[in-house]
Symmetry: C2
Subunit: 433 residues, 2 copies
């Protein structure tokens, strides 16, 4: 890219020091530069799925619309079809038993976590803090800020295995934590917790009476194992094997490339669903945790989820559980892209930031993290702009490490040569001291 | 109905005194009685539209799905098509000028009011109370309870015209009111505010710096006038003519019979949208009221609204503004039903509770309120059960009057004779003392 043009454009956007840059700033800046220079950027900054949505979903949705599902209000906690499909899917791919009653669709996983945090805020007033295992999705922290919950974070970079459990327990001892939140595989680092780590987390949840909110947005995308066979090991690992204090969030956005329709399911453990709480009984005339979340919180948030989209999600989940729809086959391409990009980067002096699962190499998937020696995350993000590559710095995601996030979703095969060339040029221009 | 059977069923449901009855209890009870007795109830308790959804909506939605709208995230504040369509619709049918930027789709009007209340809670911490003009939709009060806002209510029964404005001003003087909420036409009473009243409310909003949240769920359903001609008087009346401190909420559920897809639009006055607030700038890195609501609140609530449904709503609004789709023609049947039912009831000793707009008879529409002499609302609700008629008592809707709400949506023509007979039998069995 033309150096002067990039410098001027960054300056004009008021982003000279880049330290407060947001993902939208980067997207906007790179598009401006494309328009001004006529050169295409390689967009690695966004976390947006790049595949065609599942036809099983759209067909089910079209049929539901033809049957006039638009007329009648959906139930607050979901139509029976999606509740049953979610319960079955959870059994098929995680090997957990959760009753249909306890599985609820939400307007995207975003609404699911908002509902969970709101429920906790009201139902557990004595515990006012959410503990995030970082790095993570920054909007969940914003949700807590909007709702009025405090947050704490632990960066897993220095804490894996037994050290993670110890560090979590130190924090839990303050008695103020109502929940622990993480995504698995992790956005942005693609770290996957081991069964041992999940066991430790689960035991802490029981011991300290906190709820684990397990965000499975990138469901079963640990491609080191084939998790695609329903009702058959190996399964997506989950804390649900080790505690009853858990809530699982499964998104249609990434697994089924269905982000546009805003659909996810929130599955509450049977025991937690039926837990009675005095804090809500008098104020809201309902006593069970799950019923409160369904009939008060989800009701007041949007009185249920778009009717037709519930049919789509039910159909996709059922087809997957039937073994008729291998959704992981579609998204496996993300892993192949990550593998290629990592090779190019490592050949050109880059290194991986979060680079192992307790000694084992990370899986290749939707995201990974990388950095160039002798630079800060912000410097690297800005410098890569000059080579027509847009990435996202980790600092806004609760990470204490210097590094950037690479998202593979828009990295189509025809970009391979350009990527290799640009990264190689970058390395030549930035010799390691 | 068999007296003993009804008494036993009510007793078994633990609802002997009926004072804490909810709408769901009544729906459940009447369905149980139908199953046990084999007799059909006349269901007048629910506020659920009973018409086929607009085909313009479903067709636009199906087309959007075929074009793979399911793949990509919708913008937080709506696709351009719906923003433009809403702005144009507001001009066509209310004669208000609101920029497309300031019109945002929400997952039902329910999400719209939740978002507004949350925005107010954070942006106006010095004013912590929402003032409801009652009777009204009880779930909006629950929303405030969930969000942590205080509420106050004024029953319009004794306060119309100048008296309403005086009463509102008395309350506003406490300095704690952040907003005034009402629906127009009113659920459940079908009271419609006059232009004079709206002028008074608007002037108070400006004087006391409070926001008017005008819920137009039953858009233009004041059938005393023909409000169906776009860009042509008479228009749906609105407080937006008299203040810039307003937010309008338009639902797809009733006007377009599109409740199942959960779509509404929230339109913020241009001036309010661009109002800068210090309270949010530091905490949320955004300073304008409307931008905060769009990019922080709506983002964290569900990251936007189901993509295909936005196309549906845009198509329906545009067709209406084009004069190609007379949505009021479809829903006019509600008014005809109300007229018939009122006649039967009045012939049989019933009276209307909320019965006039400053001397003028009320319009006939989706709801009305009625009562039988010498009974409480709860007694009447319970007694009508014995005649196979289910209604909803007003006490849960913030009304201080004895009365019940009648919803006309499921009252199909083939129920006319049965209704007349049952009401006549009721009157015979309950002679006026």
């Amino acid at each position: 890219m033309d150096k002067q043009l990039v410098t001027n454009t960054i300056h004009e956007a008021g982003l000279d020091d880049f330290s407060q840059v947001t993902i939208r700033d980067i997207a906007k800046l790179s598009k401006q530069l494309e328009n001004l220079s006529g050169e295409k950027f390689i967009h690695l900054e966004m976390g947006v799925p790049g595949l065609k949505p599942s036809e099983i979903g759209t067909e089910a949705e079209i049929e539901a619309l033809k049957n006039n599902c638009a007329q009648t209000y959906p139930p607050n906690d979901g139509i029976p079809a999606i509740k049953q499909a979610a319960s079955r899917f959870v059994k098929a791919f995680i090997d957990l038993d959760i009753d249909p009653l306890c599985c609820m669709p939400t307007t995207g996983s975003m609404q699911g976590t908002f509902a969970v945090f709101t429920t906790l805020k009201i139902a557990r007033p004595e515990k006012d803090t959410v503990l995030f295992i970082h790095p993570g999705f920054p909007v969940q922290t914003t949700q807590c800020e909007v709702i009025g919950l405090k947050t704490l974070g632990i960066d897993i970079y220095n804490y894996r295995g037994e050290k993670l459990i110890q560090k979590l327990e130190e924090t839990l001892k303050n008695g103020k934590i109502n929940s622990i939140v993480y995504s698995n595989p992790n956005n942005p680092s693609w770290v996957c917790f081991t069964d041992e780590e999940l066991k430790g987390i689960g035991e802490l949840a029981t011991k300290y009476d906190v709820i684990i909110l397990e965000d499975l947005a990138y469901f079963a995308m640990d491609f080191r194992q084939d998790l695609s066979h329903p009702f058959q090991a190996p399964f997506q690992v989950s804390v649900g094997k080790y505690t009853e204090n858990y809530i699982i969030s499964i998104s249609g956005s990434k697994a089924f490339s269905y982000a546009g329709q805003r659909i996810g399911v929130t599955c509450i453990s049977n025991k937690l669903y039926h837990t009675k709480l005095k804090t809500i009984e008098e104020r809201f005339q309902v006593s069970e945790f799950g019923a409160f979340m369904a009939n008060r919180i989800l009701y007041t948030l949007s009185s249920g989820v778009t009717h037709s989209t519930q049919y789509a999600m039910a159909a996709m989940m059922n087809a997957a559980s039937d073994g008729k729809y291998n959704f992981l086959k579609d998204v496996k391409v993300y892993g192949e892209r990550a593998k290629f990009m990592k090779e190019i980067l490592l050949k050109n002096n880059f290194y991986l930031v979060y680079d192992n699962d307790l000694g084992k190499p990370l899986a290749d998937g939707f995201y990974f993290t990388t950095q160039y020696p002798g630079m800060t995350a912000v410097e690297l993000t800005k410098e890569l702009m000059f080579y027509g590559v847009s990435v996202f710095p980790l600092n806004t995601m609760g990470s204490l490490q210097q590094g950037v996030r690479i998202c593979t979703s828009f990295f189509h095969d025809n970009l391979r040569d350009a990527f290799a060339e640009r990264i190689s040029n970058f390395a030549k221009d930035h010799p390691i001291k």
